[in-house]
């Protein structure tokens, strides 16, 4: 049978309409099936960075933040409000957290002094505050056990602080090109510790970058972290 031009209007047989309707009806459940269930969502959260910030080596380092050498960041929202958190290097270094001990609202924090503690694997690792100020608000939801945040600069913020010496603080912090070089140096230092089995470094087999310290040294990962966070007592 010689078929006709598809661009010519022709009387579509009823079965063709049926097939089209069947397609539309079946498409919705198919789409939902493909989008997947819990496993996929968790994996997506774990793997996909939400923002597309500047990447230095492995680590995201957004431009407009200022960084403390202990791997905390501060973002100035207003003259009297700053948001504080841990940077991607810290986030990836330590990996999935059980929780975080945050200072209560009203607590005073000081630049270079321990401000909060990351909890994982029955250990706590302290991090230094990047600013002087008073804690206004905390974000305990930054860390949900079993569901690691992958957004340390966005939804993973830790403290909202009213800074008391913002100008002076900012002058001592790192940003821009200097911050990039500092992160690259940290990455170098980290890479220097990596064993010759470079298999740890490649991303084609599902080896997590999240939690490098723990992959490196399951026994003493907290010591490694404290070295980088400058809270190992030597500082």
């Amino acid at each position: 049978m010689i078929p006709h031009d598809i661009l010519t209007l022709y009387a579509a047989k009823p079965v063709e309409y049926l097939i089209a309707v069947a397609f539309l009806l079946l498409f919705v459940p198919f789409w939902r099936y493909v989008q997947g269930g819990q496993a996929v969502r968790e994996r997506a959260v774990a793997r996909a960075p939400r923002l597309v910030p500047r990447l230095v080596e492995w680590f995201a380092l957004p431009e407009r933040l200022s960084y403390h050498p202990g791997h905390a960041w501060v973002r100035v929202e207003r003259d009297d409000l700053a948001t504080v958190g841990m940077d991607d290097f810290a986030h990836k270094l330590v990996g999935p957290l059980v929780g975080v001990r945050l200072p209560a609202p009203g607590t005073r924090v000081a630049l270079g002094e321990p401000a909060w503690t990351l909890l994982a694997d029955n250990r706590g690792v302290e991090m230094l505050s990047p600013v002087d100020g008073v804690v206004l608000e905390t974000n305990p939801g930054a860390v949900t056990p079993g569901r690691p945040t992958d957004d340390p600069y966005g939804r993973g913020w830790l403290l909202r602080v009213q800074p008391t010496r913002l100008g002076a603080n900012l002058r001592t912090l790192l940003n821009g090109e200097v911050a990039r070089r500092w992160t690259a140096a940290a990455a170098d230092a980290l890479r220097g510790r990596l064993s010759p089995e470079l298999g740890l470094v490649y991303q084609d087999g599902g080896v997590p970058v999240h939690g490098v310290a723990r992959s490196l040294d399951p026994e003493h990962w907290d010591r490694i972290a404290r070295e980088f966070f400058l809270t190992d007592g030597d500082h």
Binding site: M1, I2, I6, R47, L55
Partner: protein
């Protein structure tokens, strides 16, 4: 003059770096002796003389083409399947540059390179197949036959190969250190991508439209006014599947090319592509059903050719469709790769069916490719793979060029 002196001594190290990867020529040649290369050399050693023989003594001396079967393996496999499988270029490029799916950026360059080489070697196979290949520019420059779908295919493939080359030039210019040219090339990316999608839509569907002229020769289950749609939709699935396969392969074979400081979650990308491929194949199956309804040839499904049709569409399109869906759902990259392999086989089978197997299906004498045709096909594919490897080993395709890492 000082300048000339410097330039002449500059060339040797530049050549050595670019061509021999920094090794002295002797060492480079020695490094080439690997089992894979030996196999490739054997293939070329047999295939190239056959090609020469074909050009000296004519098609009849090498192929089993006949007066009833003017098109054979070289058209069915190298040209039709080759172009369908090279569709990864426009699919990934549009994903990144038009739909804004930035996470696929790491695989844009390999996909564009695969696309470009796919088209280039499909054209080379066409040169082997044409009776007077030196006249290949004729539809472009000498005599136009605009009533012909093949005229349109010729123009489209010509323009699109050019577009793919333009899309690849940023990598080329980075390799050659030509910053300004690279900047211009990058500015062309968006227009090149849009143009590329237009051209790809046209020629992928037109390759199918070629067969609209054969209602009396092509088996009714494959002949339909929807053939252009079939070819276009299946080309998207083919492109996605090829990208999945070659990404997985490249990351295994070209490990040394990968930049460890770039965090690329290949599995997540593969799963995203798998999701897309499942939807495309799902749609494809229903479009095939519409074609069956339009032709009214349901009864033919019960014949031998009907069984073959069900195997092709059911086994090699429906099955991968659900494998992809399941892989996406359960986040299983290995399953996605299996589905991709099945899809690629299905596309090749479909193109061969339309052009050779279901063509002249009721003729008394059927075409079977000669061993020489098969060798030439394998040779052309081998040459394509070798070219791919040569480029990927030298140019920033799988990795970023350190000088341009910031410039995105």
């Amino acid at each position: 003059m000082g300048d000339t002196l410097t330039r002449s001594t500059d060339v040797r190290p530049w050549l050595s770096q670019k061509l021999f990867m920094g090794l002295p020529p002797g060492a480079y040649v020695r490094s080439l002796v690997t089992p894979g290369n030996i196999l490739a050399a054997l293939i070329l050693a047999v295939g190239v003389p056959i090609l020469i023989y074909r050009f000296v003594y004519g098609l009849g001396a090498v192929t089993n083409l006949s007066q009833t079967t003017p098109w054979g393996l070289w058209i069915g496999f190298d040209m039709l399947a080759g172009i369908a499988l090279a569709a990864g270029g426009y699919t990934i490029a549009s994903a990144v540059y038009i739909f804004g799916l930035k996470e696929y950026r790491p695989i844009v360059r390999p996909a564009v390179l695969t696309g470009f080489l796919g088209y280039l070697f499909a054209v080379i196979a066409l040169l082997a197949d044409l009776g007077q290949p030196w006249r290949i520019p004729y539809p472009i420059v000498y005599s136009a036959g605009p009533t012909s779908v093949m005229f349109e295919v010729g123009w489209c493939v010509f323009l699109y190969t050019t577009v793919l080359f333009i899309e690849f030039t940023p990598a080329l210019f980075e390799w050659l250190g030509l910053r300004t040219l690279r900047r211009y090339a990058v500015q062309l990316t968006l227009s090149a991508t849009v143009f590329g999608v237009v051209l790809s839509t046209l020629h992928q569907s037109s390759l199918g439209a070629l067969f609209l002229m054969t209602p009396t020769k092509l088996h009714p289950l494959w002949y339909s006014s929807f053939i252009p749609l079939y070819f276009f939709i299946s080309s998207i699935a083919a492109g996605l599947s090829m990208v999945i396969l070659e990404t997985a392969l490249a990351h295994r074979l070209f490990r040394d090319q990968l930049d460890p400081s770039r965090h690329v979650d290949i599995d997540a990308l593969i799963l995203g592509l798998a999701k897309a491929a499942s939807v495309v194949l799902f749609t494809y199956i229903f479009v095939q059903l519409q074609g069956l309804a339009d032709g009214g040839d349901w009864a033919l499904l019960l014949t031998a050719y009907g069984g073959w049709y069900v195997f092709e569409v059911g086994g090699l399109a429906a099955v991968p469709c659900f494998l992809f869906a399941h892989a996406a759902r359960t986040a299983s990259a290995p399953l996605a790769r299996i589905a991709a392999a099945l899809t690629v086989l299905g596309i090749i089978l479909n193109r061969l069916n339309v052009s050779v197997v279901a063509m002249n299906w009721n003729a008394s004498e059927r075409y079977v490719p000669s061993w020489m045709e098969i060798v030439v096909s394998v040779t052309i594919v081998t040459m394509g793979l070798l070219t791919y490897r040569w480029i990927v080993s030298r140019m920033p395709v799988l990795r970023e060029h350190p000088d341009y890492a910031d410039a995105h």
